[in-house]
C-alpha cells in the first residue's frame, strides 16, 4: 500500500488581523499560520502530527478537510482538491475534533448514528457491521440510549469517534482525540484506533499534545512549528534530531565532588548521588566500566530520555533558524 493519499506542496495560509492603533486607526497585519508545508502521506499510514499551541496544526487539518482555503500552494487528498470537492470528499473522510462534537446534544447517541447513516447513505450491512464493531470495542452498548448531554467527556469522545467511522472513511483526521480523558479511556481509544488502522487500512492523521498517543500508535511523526515541518520521520530519529541525552544515575560510597568522566557531564549532585548526562546515541557500557574503575559505586541506573523533553528541546530550537530537515 504505497499509494499517496495526501499531497501537500508549498502550502501557506495567512490571515489578516486588524489591530487597534490609537482611537480610530487600525493596522493590518498578516499572520502566517502555515508558512510553507510540504509532506505526503501514503494510504494506510498512521501519522502523528505534533507541535506547540498555535503551530498551525488545526489550520492544516482544516485545509485538508476543505473548510479553509490555502493562501498559496497545492493540496490534494485522494487526488481531489479539498475545497472544491469538499462535499464529495466528506463522504470519504472522518473527522474528530476532541473539543467539538458532531453528536446531537439533546438526543440519545443512537439518533446521531441513525442520522449519520442517512447523511452518508451507508448501506445497511456496512452500517450494522461498523456500528457493532464500534459498540463492542468502544464499549458503547450501555450508552446508546443516553442523551449525549448526559455523557461524560470520555464517553462522548468514544461516541464521536464511532460516529466518524460508521461510513468507513479512507482517511481519519483526529484532532486531540484523547484531550481531557482519564488513563483508561485514553487506552481504550488508542487500542481502538490501532485496530481500525490495522483491520481496515484507514489512513490516520493524529494531532495531539499527548506524546504517549504517538508513541503507542504512530510509526511516523511530523513535528510542526511556526507553520513549518521541523521534523518528519520515525520516533527514534526524533531523539537524534533533538540531540537528546540519557542519564546515568550513580550512588557513590561516600559524598564526593562532581565526578570526572570523559564523554559525560554531571548535571546534578545530591549527597552521595550524582546525575551524569551523555548523548543518547553513545553506549552506556564503557562509561559504566570507566566509572567503576575510578570510583567506588554502591548502585547505578540508566534513564532513557523522555520524549517530552526531546520535543520541548525541539520546540525551543525551532525558535532559532532550523538546520536541515531530514526527509522522510
Amino acid at each position: 500500500m504505497n499509494e499517496t493519499l495526501i499531497e501537500v506542496e508549498g502550502v501557506t495560509k495567512s490571515f489578516v488581523v486588524r489591530r487597534r492603533a490609537g482611537r480610530f486607526r487600525r493596522t493590518r497585519e498578516e499572520v502566517h499560520a502555515v508558512a510553507g508545508l510540504d509532506f505526503t502521506v501514503r494510504r494506510g499510514e498512521m501519522v502523528g502530527y505534533i507541535g506547540p499551541n498555535g503551530a498551525g496544526k488545526s489550520t492544516t487539518v482544516k485545509m485538508l478537510t476543505g473548510i479553509l482555503l490555502p493562501s498559496t500552494g497545492r493540496l490534494r487528498v485522494a487526488g481531489a482538491d479539498p475545497v472544491r470537492d469538499r462535499v464529495r470528499l466528506a463522504q470519504r473522510m472522518g473527522v474528530v475534533f476532541g473539543q467539538r462534537t458532531t453528536l446531537w446534544w439533546d438526543l440519545p447517541l443512537r439518533d446521531s448514528y441513525e442520522l449519520a447513516r442517512r447523511i452518508y447513505r451507508i448501506p445497511d450491512a456496512t452500517y450494522t457491521r461498523n456500528l457493532d464493531r464500534c459498540v463492542e470495542l468502544l464499549e458503547l452498548a450501555p450508552l446508546l440510549d443516553v442523551p449525549v448531554r448526559q455523557l461524560s467527556l470520555g464517553q462522548r469522545m468514544r461516541g464521536d469517534i464511532a460516529a466518524a467511522l460508521l461510513h468507513e472513511p479512507e482517511v481519519l483526521y483526529l484532532d486531540e482525540p484523547t484531550i481531557g480523558l482519564d488513563v483508561v479511556s485514553k487506552r481504550r481509544v488508542r487500542e481502538f484506533l490501532a485496530r481500525v488502522n490495522a483491520d481496515l487500512g484507514t489512513t490516520v492523521l493524529l494531532t495531539t499534545h499527548d506524546l504517549t498517543d504517538i508513541e503507542q500508535l504512530c510509526s511516523r511523526v511530523m513535528v510542526i512549528d511556526h507553520g513549518r515541518v521541523v521534523y518528519d520521520g520515525g520516533l527514534d530519529g526524533l531523539h537524534e534530531q533533538g540531540r537528546s541525552e540519557r542519564t546515568l544515575v550513580v550512588e557513590l560510597e561516600r559524598e564526593l565532588p562532581p565526578v570526572e568522566l570523559p564523554g559525560a557531564r554531571v548535571v546534578r549532585c545530591e549527597g552521595t548521588r550524582q546525575w551524569l548526562a551523555f548523548p543518547a546515541s553513545a553506549s552506556a557500557a564503557p562509561l559504566v566500566a570507566e566509572l567503576a574503575a575510578r570510583y567506588e559505586l554502591r548502585d547505578l541506573s540508566v534513564r532513557e530520555p523522555e520524549i517530552e523533553d526531546v520535543i520541548a528541546r525541539m520546540y525551543e530550537e525551532a525558535e532559532r533558524p532550523v538546520a536541515a530537515v531530514p526527509s522522510h
Binding site: F15, S58, K62, T65, G66, I67, L68, L69, R86, V87, R88, A90, Q91, M93, V95, F97, Q99, R100, T101, T102, W104, D106, L107, D111, E114, L115, R118, I119, Y120, R121, P147
Partner: protein, 269 residues
Amino acid sequence: MYAAVCLRSFRRYSTYRAATGARVFTNTVFGFILSYTYLALWQVRPHLGGYDLSAALTYVWIGQGLLSVLAINDLGALSDLQTRIANGDVAVDLFRPVDQQRWWLAVDAGRAGYQLLTNALVPMLVGGLFFHLRLPQGTAAATVATWAATAVALLLALLVSYAMRHLIALTGFWLLDLRGVQLVYYLVSCFFSGFFLPITTFPPLLEAVARALPFVAVFQVPADVFLQRYDATGTLAALGVQVAWAVVLLGLGRLVQSRAVLKVVVQGG
C-alpha cells in the same frame, strides 16, 4: 435524509417540556392583553384597516399562535447555527457531505412542526374559548379551499422567515456577535410583518413601505388568507408574492453562504 433531520429536530424540541409550557403560557397571556387592546381600539374605530371586531380578535390569536412557529421574534432553530458560528463548532458541520442551507431548513422545519402542535394550537384554543373568533366560512368547498390555501401560505411563510433568519445568522461569520442585529431584526420583523397591528391600519406611506418588504409574507399574508380577505385570484397573487420572496431570499442566502464558508474564521482553534 433531510426528513430524518427534521424528525430528529422535532424530537429534540419535544424534550424541553418546561420551555414549551412557558412559551404557551406567555403567548396566551399576551393574547389576552392584545385582545383587550384591540377591543378598545375597535370600539373607537370599528372596521379599522378593513377588519371587523371578530376578524381583528382572530388576527390577534393567529398572531400569538404563529409567533413561535414562524419565529417572528426569535431566530428559531437558527439560534443554534448562530451559536455554532460564534464558538466555531460550525467547522465540524462543514465536514459533513450535506448542504448547510437545506440542513438548517430541515432542522427549522422540525422545530416549526413541533411548535405548531403546541405553541400554536393551545393559545388559539384558549382564545377561541374566551372570544368569538372567525373561522373560514362559506360553502364546504370554499372552506376547504381556504384551509388548504392557509396551509400553503404557512409553509411559504416559514420558508421566507427561514431565509431571512438564515441570512441574519450568517452575518455572524463577519460580525461574531449578533445581539444588536437581532434586536433590530425582531423589532422590524414584528412591526412590518403586521404582527403588532395589520399593515392596512398603517398610514398609506408606511403601508406602502411594508408592502414592499418581505416581512408581510411571513405573517400578514397567511393571516389574511385564513380570514378570507382575498378572492381566489387575490389569494393566488398573495401566494405568488410569498414564492417570489422565498426564491429571492433563499438565493441570496446561498450566495452569502458560499462567501461565508470561504472566509470561515474558525473561532477557538
